[in-house]
Amino acid sequence: MSAKTIKLTLKVWRQKNAKSKGKFETHKLDHVSPDASFLEMLDQLNENLTLKNNDPIAFDHDCREGICGMCGAVVNGEAHGPEKSTTLCQLHMRHFKNGDTIIIEPFRAKGFPVIKDLAIDRTAFDRVIQAGGYISVRTGSAPDANVILIPKDASDSAMDAAQCIGCGACVAACPNASAMLFVSAKINHLSLLPQGQPERYSRAKNMVLQMDKEGFGNCSNEYQCEAACPKDISVENIARMNRDYVKASL
């Protein structure tokens, strides 16, 4: 934990609401602690802006420990910034140098309209889940948990997919703003488990159709999503979804 601080130039996207055009705004920020997180650095900027009666920058965040999936911005061209497997809230300013210029943009996609500044509307993901991202079981109708035996590796693979935090970095990083990594992770979490089999194919079909309806782009197998994913969700999920989708459709 160092006592030195750094100075930064921040070019931040400002957009009053979904309809307005938006533009970059430049701010100088001094005395940034290298131990501060990226969001704490934005807090600091906002405190300064408020004290000067300037509208603070809107950005989404909640848990600040990398699990809720609420935060996210494109930092110098990378969703969630330069660190691998790290959400924006867990990115620390020690990864930047004194005098750096940082360009901060919202996740950009037609499926994620900007609400204000860096805050975006990701309800499209909720609607994709509504299309089939569940197992239709009523409260109270479950058999004893150990009646369903699940091989450890199947359970582990399902967990690998289930770790997705729904942040949308995959969409942000994809050159086509495709949501396939998110959707496939959700589909596979359930399709890898015995409980998910009865609805396996209808789920794949319906969720993909909803994803398309939301205006996300198409996958061109460039694997940028995997590189940006803070939870290391594998593009193997997309391959598996593609396979299930053909089976479901033809």
């Binding site: 807090d43 399902a158 409980q195």
Partner: protein
């Protein structure tokens, strides 16, 4: 008017109460269910499971959350696991043992009947979650794996890697989304409840603000359910999410709901220390670290040498010294309090002096780096990511932080508050943990309330209560809306010189200092004097920019901090009145010779439920006496 506090505990033997009560409760005719609307505020484990289950039963549900999606609620951050008395490992667990452990762990300040029901239901929760597709850890044979957690003597904790809360929440969320798709739950995300509508003494709806458009709206229902979490963020720095707040429960309290045991707060000993003024929240690391790490500080005050340069005989392994039989594994409250003591003596480490070492050097020497890596690799990585120090080489630095709040709105056995029609579930109620919550029990309680208790008890209320049809044009609705609009306008009109966070930080530091790990009368009295001053300064000098009709995060925060500034006073009042130490509430004046919490069962074996009398006015205390018929009152000892 003082209402009597009837906990409505059913008659009969402890293990038959819930079964009998379920039979005795009135049912709502299936055809009539869809005529009833239920509002659920909050979409965490408790809220999402309740909303989904009520909708499955046929009720019309409106569910609200302030986040952009119900999946983001802070239940998602729970790491360790969820308890259930399945006894799969055959190590002698049973609902009765879980019940016993929870009552004892809660330092005898919980309601026995509630805890017993929780232990009975625990098994159904696991069944339900597995059926939903929650990928719990498995054995090679395909059965569920269990681990021992938080010093429990049986392995009853089910887990999904270090993300159990996330997986359980996604299960409940998927059930909720299924019901939204069916059209029987209407979901309002990015919508914050700002007022409870009470008509003819019954909770009948809420006033909300759409956080994107700023639109103020009223929603009418036959019952209102609050699953809005705890108030740990009153302390500014906590392990809670940034948005966690007391607003929903506090505003319900101001409308007549009693607030119970607010002074019961849980402090977690193994968090990453504060790095500086820009710190916005604290991060918890699993306390399993204490299984192999040794806690120490220098013997000398103000010893600024790096850890490695401090020779062995100049180190104080204070937990091992003071508690030879439990050593570094003493319960959460003891570990936290002792860290505070050594830091108060000037022996704390790190740049702020508010940290102690958690050293793995001996464990690495004994077990090898690979074993330590296998056990704690992900935690070490997290620590290194945040603090940029390598815990394989340097000792970790840790410090306690507020993490969970046991207190909450008072509810009876049916989870209904003293306000008819207002139900409170999950961390938001005062419920089942008494003065201290055991590890892996929060997830259990949230889901028990939402899946298996509330859906029954709310039916009993709706079937047995005459509920007059009303609409949003009712004059009381307009009054409630007016209150909200006025408050918003007032906040925006001050245009002072200090930021919202500045006030929040000031309140938090004061609470942490005077009403944190250890409390005493003079400190609490000082806090009671200071809080109204900070509140007054806030309403004179806060700067909230922007307008009410837009996405305005400062305005959101200002409203929440305004509530913390009122609530803080109640928290301290409760702590001052409880002249005993129990669980998370430690009063310096009341400790045994061994430095242990000294309960006063003769005078304080009750739930303190406070009635609101106005901001700055002394609240009225209502007591619900606690009887311990099954688990006998004993004193803890860890020497």
């Amino acid at each position: 008017m003082t209402k009597s506090l009837n906990s409505n505990i059913p008659e009969g033997a402890m293990h038959e109460k819930w079964t009998q009560h379920k039979f005795n409760m009135k049912l709502v005719n299936p055809a009539n269910k869809r005529k009833h609307t239920v509002i659920v505020v909050g979409s965490g484990l408790a809220g999402a499971s309740a909303a989904a289950s009520l909708s499955e039963l046929g009720y019309k549900v409106k569910c609200f959350c302030f986040q952009d999606s119900p999946r983001r609620a802070h239940s998602i951050a729970a790491q360790g696991g969820i308890n259930a008395s399945k006894n799969y490992p055959n190590d002698g667990d049973s609902p009765r043992r879980l019940f016993y452990d929870t009552v004892k762990g809660g330092d005898f300040r919980a309601r026995e009947a509630n805890v017993h029901r929780l232990a009975e239901i625990s098994n159904s929760i696991i069944d339900q979650c597995v059926a939903q597709g929650v990928p719990f850890a498995r054995e090679y044979g395909g059965t569920l794996d269990n681990r021992s957690f938080g010093g429990a003597q049986v392995s009853r904790t089910f887990y999904a890697r270090g993300q159990t809360g996330q997986q359980l929440l996604l299960g409940a969320y998927s059930a909720l989304e299924k019901e939204i798709a069916k059209g029987s739950v209407e979901m309002f995300s990015r919508t914050e409840m700002l007022e409870l509508i009470v008509i003819d003494g019954k909770a009948r709806g809420i006033v909300t603000r759409n956080l994107v458009t700023g639109k103020i709206e009223s929603h009418i229902a036959d019952a209102v359910v609050l699953g809005t979490g705890g108030y740990g963020n009153a302390y500014f720095l906590s392990t809670n999410a940034m948005g966690c707040n007391v607003t929903a429960t506090w505003r319900a309290h101001k409308k007549g709901a009693y607030f119970a045991n607010p002074c019961y707060t849980q402090i977690h000993p193994t968090c990453i220390p504060v790095h500086g003024d820009s710190q916005s929240k604290l991060t918890l690391m699993s306390e399993s670290l204490r299984n192999d790490g040794r806690v120490w500080v220098p013997k000398q005050a103000d010893d600024k040498r790096p850890a490695k340069q401090i020779p062995e005989d100049e180190r104080d392994y204070y937990l091992e010294r003071k508690y030879p039989s439990f050593g570094n594994l003493v319960p959460r409250d003891l570990a936290s309090r002792n860290a505070k003591y050594v830091c108060d003596e000037g022996r704390g480490v790190g740049p702020s002096g508010l940290a102690v070492y958690l050293d793995f050097a001996d464990a690495i020497k004994r077990l090898g780096k690979d074993t330590i890596k296998a056990r704690y690799g992900n935690l070490f990585d997290m620590y290194q990511r945040i603090s940029a120090s390598d815990p394989y080489k340097e000792p970790m630095m840790i410090y306690p932080a507020i993490h969970y709040t046991m207190g909450g709105l008072w509810v009876d056995y049916n989870l209904m508050s003293n306000l008819p029609g207002l139900f409170v579930i999950g961390e938001a109620n005062f419920s089942d943990h008494g003065a201290n919550r055991l590890g892996a029990s929060a997830l259990m309680q949230g889901l028990a309330d939402g899946y298996f208790i509330l859906p029954y008890t709310i039916g009993n209320y709706l079937a047995g209560t005459k509920i007059d049809p009303i609409t949003v044009s009712h004059p009381d609705v307009a009054t409630a809306e007016k209150t909200v609009i006025n408050k918003t306008e007032q906040l925006l009109s001050i245009k002072g010189t200090r930021t919202v966070d500045d006030f929040h930080r000031e309140l938090g530091l004061l609470l942490w200092d005077k009403c944190g790990m250890a409390r005493d009368e003079s400190g609490l009295k000082e806090a009671l004097k200071r809080i109204p001053e900070i509140r007054e300064a806030f309403w004179k000098d806060v700067n909230v920019l922007g307008s009410p009709g837009e996405f305005n995060q400062t305005l959101e925060r200002a409203g929440r901090v305004a509530d913390f500034l009122e609530f803080g006073e109640l928290l301290v009042t409760d702590a001052l009145h409880r002249k005993e130490s129990c669980g998370g509430h430690f009063r310096e004046e009341y400790q045994t010779d061994e430095g242990e919490a000294q309960r006063d069962d003769e005078n304080f074996c009750y739930v303190a439920a406070w009635e609101f009398n106005g901001v700055g006015e002394t609240p009225t205390l209502h007591k619900e006496a606690l009887a311990f018929e099954e688990v006998h009152l004993t004193q803890r000892s860890y020497k």
